[in-house]
């Protein structure tokens, strides 16, 4: 059911032009300040949590106290079961990202080469998030069997769509002069693609990659939540159902931390990949 989650929510949604500029415009000092503020907010959140539990603003069944969650966190991080789940989820995300990303890139390039086909498919692709992919689970059982590949395939689809749309938008937004330059230099098709077109569309493609990672994560965890028998998403569901609220919170926190860390890493990677291209 989750797969639906895949909506393209991104800083740079495929259809908003100007992908990178917003962020880059700020001076480095605000980046540091932002990081400090974010950290401060997280600390404040923890404080609020602790206070709320201590003053009994909510019942421990609703939100267990921080003092119980922290030791459980330490214990769980040391357990093999956790790393087994995390490894499985990580593997699914990685495969879905690589597979979905590559497929999305190819589809995006294909749409660029054949804009009519692209325009025929576009309305369906942009509305694809309205489909709860998880409901295709029974079909997946028949096709791929009962294993993690059903999670991977559905997560790949979720990762592939924003990638395809972003790649396409990026390529069709290329300044025509770049292609003219490539032609005047006598670039062969491979050179035109790899030396000119793809690097020029890179801000969009990198934004698409970020989305692909996020959707691979969302898709994999959400699919696990509903259908799998291992993985972080499954573990949360399992602990939820068996009323182990404290451990469940630990896993929810781990997934949250993982997503936040991933977002942070992605923005660092994006900066590195788009080095030098300040707000043009």
């Amino acid at each position: 059911m989750e797969s639906t989650v895949a909506a393209p929510v991104k800083t740079e949604s495929p259809h908003t032009p100007t992908p990178v500029p917003g962020r880059r415009r700020k001076r480095p000092s605000t980046g540091l300040l932002s990081a400090v503020c974010t950290f401060g907010l997280l600390v404040l959140g923890c404080l609020f949590w602790h206070l709320g539990s201590a003053l009994a603003w909510w019942s421990p069944a609703t939100i267990p106290p921080l003092t119980e969650v922290t030791p459980a966190l330490v214990e769980i991080l040391g357990s093999g079961e956790f790393w087994g789940d995390a490894g499985r989820t990580g593997f699914e995300i990685a495969i879905a990202f690589v597979g979905g990303g590559a497929f999305g890139l190819l589809v995006g390039i294909g749409f660029w080469k054949a804009p009519t086909i692209g325009r025929v498919f576009e309305p369906y692709l942009v509305s694809f998030y309205a489909v709860p992919l998880v409901l295709f689970y029974p079909v997946m059982i028949v096709i791929v069997g009962i294993n993690q590949w059903s999670v991977i395939i559905l997560a790949s689809i979720m990762a592939g769509i924003p990638m395809a749309l972003n790649t396409w938008v990026g390529l069709s937004g290329l300044p025509p002069v770049y292609l003219k330059l490539a032609r005047s230099l006598g670039c062969n098709p491979r050179q035109t693609m790899f030396e000119v077109a793809l690097p020029a569309a890179a801000p969009f493609i990198v934004a698409g990659l970020r989305l692909a990672v996020v959707y691979a994560l969302i898709g994999a965890v959400a699919m696990e939540f509903v259908t799998a028998s291992a993985g972080l998403g499954f573990r949360i569901r399992y602990l939820y159902e068996s009323f182990d609220t404290v451990e469940m919170f630990v896993y929810v926190l781990v997934v949250l931390a993982m997503s936040l860390a991933l977002t942070f890493l992605l923005s660092v990677a994006e900066r590195a990949l788009l080095r030098g291209r300040a707000g043009r």
Binding site: V5, A7, T18, T116, R119, Y129, A130, T263
Partner: protein, 251 residues
């Protein structure tokens, strides 16, 4: 990008709406073929039949209404909240410095894992709406904030030069200037809040299509299941398509 789009999007020889329609027919044909090949997939005809008979059932209509109402509330709340928070994030440098990383980070969180936390806080009927809001909120919020940030500085000068009050600035300058990203956000929020609500309904609810789907699913009654999914998909799809067409026009 204007020049580029003119360049690559020359008038296509094939009529695009006709092409999309053909594609739809092709999908239905493939669906029918798949139904012949695999017993899991009901034929399109069976599915539509199930849908029609479902609508004859007052109980089913009640489920539809419950979901529709929850989606509508979730969408409206997500829209209102998203626009306001997006404005705050886009307009104030400090709000941005303090909150932006967390907002972007939370956008990447698989929100479904929060359901176990939401249920005890918002109870059954509330948590599905909150889930819908969580799903729909971020696209609007982020698009509005980005839209404002990308607004040409000259608009602010213009606003000051004509002595516009804050309401006029909002309605006459900001909203028209960011209408495109705003519409993108609204479109995404519309489908996403529906997804969020239905997902939450999969867990438990008194009335709602999520429950209907899950019941048919649990019993292996695939025509019934597909019928409801088809209903959900086509409504979300049509709404999304209409919003998308509108969005394109505002280029």
């Amino acid at each position: 990008m204007t020049a580029a789009s003119v360049h690559t999007r020359r008038r296509p020889r094939i009529n695009v709406p006709a092409g999309s329609f053909l594609l739809l027919l092709l999908v239905i044909l493939l669906w029918w073929l798949a139904a012949q090949l695999s017993f899991v997939i009901p034929t399109p005809a069976d599915t539509v039949g199930a849908l029609v008979s479902n609508f004859g059932d007052a109980d089913y209509r009640r489920h539809v209404e419950a979901t529709a109402a929850a989606v509508l509330v979730a969408f409206l709340v997500a829209g209102l909240l998203g626009v306001l928070l997006g404005l705050a994030l886009g307009l104030s440098k400090w709000v941005r410095i303090i909150f932006e990383p967390l907002v972007v980070g939370f956008n990447g969180v698989p929100k479904i894992v929060l359901y176990p936390v939401l249920l005890p806080i918002f109870s059954l009927s509330g948590s599905k709406i909150v889930m819908g809001v969580l799903f729909g909120l971020f696209p609007i919020l982020i698009n509005v904030a980005a839209g404002i940030r990308d607004m040409p500085a000259v608009y602010w000068k213009l606003a000051r030069s004509v002595n516009a009050n804050w309401w006029q600035v909002l309605t006459q300058i900001i909203v028209p200037a960011i209408r495109r990203p705003l519409l993108t956000g609204v479109r995404l929020a519309a489908s996403l809040s529906a997804v969020g609500v239905v997902l939450a309904e999969f867990f438990s609810t008194r009335f709602g299509l999520g429950r209907v789907v899950l019941r048919a699913y649990g019993n292996g009654n695939y025509p019934d299941m597909m019928a409801t999914i088809l209903l959900l998909i086509s409504v979300a799809f049509i709404v999304s398509l209409l919003l998308w067409r509108w969005e394109r026009k505002t280029r």
